[in-house]
């Protein structure tokens, strides 16, 4: 029960935060929540299942563009775009999972970089569908209504922040359940020793594909939330820099520890805010931190702490 209670407490604190914080800070917190979802999503496939991916930014973009294009062409509201973004990104996750059935390690990483690049090129060049470099703009999120009665206004920053928080809580809860279900332990088994996993009867194909789908779907949800928050999408919001940042969050915090990537995301999103003018060099700092972490502490901060505790 303890992890649920801690999660609930943190969520409550975040829920009252906009009452004390200004608009800018609330926006930063919202951005932090997007990255928490992305980092936890990446942790499922790369941390738990051991299938390294540099394509988080692509799935994030696929979710965001699904929301933007559906709003533009169908006028669909956010509550419809959310599952749609998850499904579209999840399907592409399945697609990327297929080469992962044959490739391992560095070779798989290269394929995920290629996938990221292809998605970027398609969304930036297919002008008639995606708006090219200009992107697609979205209207203010429509209020959530049922039978003509307005339930929740989403137009204000605060209400949209709460929606983001609620969706993030649901995403984390799902990811937590996945990681701690039978499927999650099969992912760990595949990461530890794929041949052995198959030898004890684990369907490694199913394991890998589900990890890719789950990871991509979470990134897709983050994408939908971001698209509506920004009132628009452009290709440059979803480059490999996003993927690299999310990888840094996961590795710094600790792969396969669940809480580690969350803390990594919180740290790397909030850090540029306290750096002031130095924030211009944030990619340089992220990169240095990543190199340091991989050299000195490959299991990440939380991984290291857990190993200490286990001794």
């Amino acid at each position: 029960m303890k992890p649920y209670l801690i999660g609930l407490a943190v969520a409550l604190v975040l829920a009252v935060a906009p009452f004390v914080l200004g608009g800018y800070e609330t926006n930063v917190l919202m951005m932090m929540l997007f990255f928490v979802i992305l980092a936890v999503g990446l942790d499922l496939v790369a941390g738990y299942c051991g299938q390294f991916s540099f394509a988080t930014g692509a799935f994030y973009g696929l979710g965001a563009y699904t929301a933007a294009i559906m709003s533009r062409d169908l006028g669909s509201p956010i509550w419809l775009n959310l599952p749609a973004g998850a499904v579209v990104a999840g399907l592409f996750g399945l697609l990327l999972g297929i080469p992962a059935l044959r490739l391992k390690g560095h070779f798989l990483a290269i394929v995920t970089i290629a996938f990221q690049t292809i998605v970027y090129l398609v969304i930036s060049q297919w002008t008639s569908f995606t708006g090219g470099q200009v992107g697609v703009s979205l209207p203010n999120p429509a209020p959530l209504t049922a039978f003509g009665v307005t339930l929740v206004q989403l137009g204000s920053l605060r209400s949209y922040y709460w929606l983001t928080l609620a969706v993030a809580v649901i995403c984390l809860l799902l990811a937590w359940r996945l990681a701690h279900s039978r499927l999650g332990s099969e992912w760990i088994a595949i990461r530890d020793d794929e041949t052995l996993a198959a030898a004890v009867g684990i369907d490694t194909t199913r394991g890998k594909l589900t990890a890719f789908i789950a990871s991509a779907a979470l990134a897709g949800v983050a994408g939908v939330l971001t698209a509506h928050a920004m009132r628009g999408v452009t290709p440059d919001d979803f480059t490999i820099w996003i993927s690299a940042t999310v990888v840094a969050m996961m590795v710094l915090g600790g792969r396969g520890t669940f809480i580690g990537p969350i803390l990594g995301a919180v740290f790397l999103v909030l850090m540029p805010e306290v750096l002031g003018r130095l924030a211009e060099y944030k990619m340089l700092i992220y990169g240095s931190l990543l190199v340091l972490a991989i050299t000195l502490m490959p299991e990440g901060v939380i991984g290291r702490l857990r190993r200490r505790a286990a001794r």
């Binding site: 359940r177 996945l178 279900s181 039978r182 499927l183 332990s185 099969e186 760990i188 088994a189 990461r191 530890d192 020793d193 041949t195 052995l196 996993a197 198959a198 030898a199 004890v200 009867g201 684990i202 369907d203 490694t204 396969g256 286990a310």
Partner: protein, 261 residues
């Protein structure tokens, strides 16, 4: 007697090298069959062909009467085949108990979705698997290690965990790949008793690859001898080890003949 596993004319080539050449091998129900031969004779390849890590280039493979020659590893495991590895293989980031529980996932009747939503039936099933894992660990006198990482155990203990893992899925055939390797002589005695009990108490048929002759002579109902990928002898252990062809393969002019080739 019905055959648990029956390989007919199994051939495996790696590039130009014929690692296993038209070998017939069978294990009858309730038997312990030994697979022996000098280093590089193709024993490990043969084992990997039986368990499905490798697929044969030629030949047929029947398991309880099912053709499994093109069947992937995990499906063979689900049909009732379990194995241990020459080089110890366990999931290193998991506890001993979790290692065992994973081996029974394939026997679980509740779905992964039930487990995802924490449904009572799935939780009970996992609990039952845990209880069974503890029971098995107690049988091996390793119960105090249940919650510890596998790396906390000695090589000999890890080998026992590998065998316990094999028992978790209630297999009909257990393939043991050099279980005595790296064990001290007293532990080898224990291993011999243990393997016999696996057959007598659990009714499991066993294919045993082994270098330690004492284990083979004490346990095996029948042995198959490989040399350079060919079957050179088959029969009762005491007779086979005196067979001049076998003696030659092990210590005689066998290596000289190969050096000339």
């Amino acid at each position: 007697m019905s055959k648990i596993i029956e390989a007919k004319g199994i051939t495996k080539r790696f590039g130009g090298v014929v690692a296993v050449n038209a070998v017939d091998l069978s294990v009858e129900k309730g038997q312990i069959v030994g697979l022996i031969g000098p280093n590089g004779s193709g024993k490990s390849t043969m084992v990997n062909l039986v368990t499905g890590e490798l697929l044969a280039d030629e030949g047929g493979l029947l398991f309880n009467g099912h053709d499994i020659s093109r069947m992937p590893l995990y499906k063979r495991a689900r049909l009732g085949m379990a194995r241990s590895f020459q080089m110890l293989r366990l999931f290193h980031s998991l506890s001993v108990e979790e290692n065992l529980v994973l081996a029974s996932h394939m026997r679980m009747t509740t779905s992964v979705v039930d487990s995802l939503f924490g449904r009572a039936a799935a939780r009970e099933e996992t609990e039952r698997a845990r209880a069974k894992a503890r029971e098995l660990l107690a049988w091996f006198d390793l119960q105090e290690f249940a919650e510890r990482p596998v790396t906390a155990m000695s090589i000999g203990q890890q080998r026992m965990v590998e065998i316990a893992r094999g028992l978790m899925s209630e297999p009909t055939l257990l393939v043991l790949d050099e279980p005595a390797a790296g064990l001290s002589p007293p532990n080898v005695d224990k291993l011999i008793v243990l393997i016999r009990r696996l057959r007598d108490e659990f009714g499991i048929s066993i294919l045993l690859v082994e270098h330690v002759m004492r284990v083979v002579r004490d346990l095996c109902d029948r042995v198959v001898v490989l040399d350079s990928g060919q079957k050179i002898a088959e029969g009762v252990p005491d007779v086979v080890v005196k067979d001049p062809v076998v003696v030659e393969a092990y210590i005689g002019s066998g290596w000289k003949r190969r050096a000339q080739a």
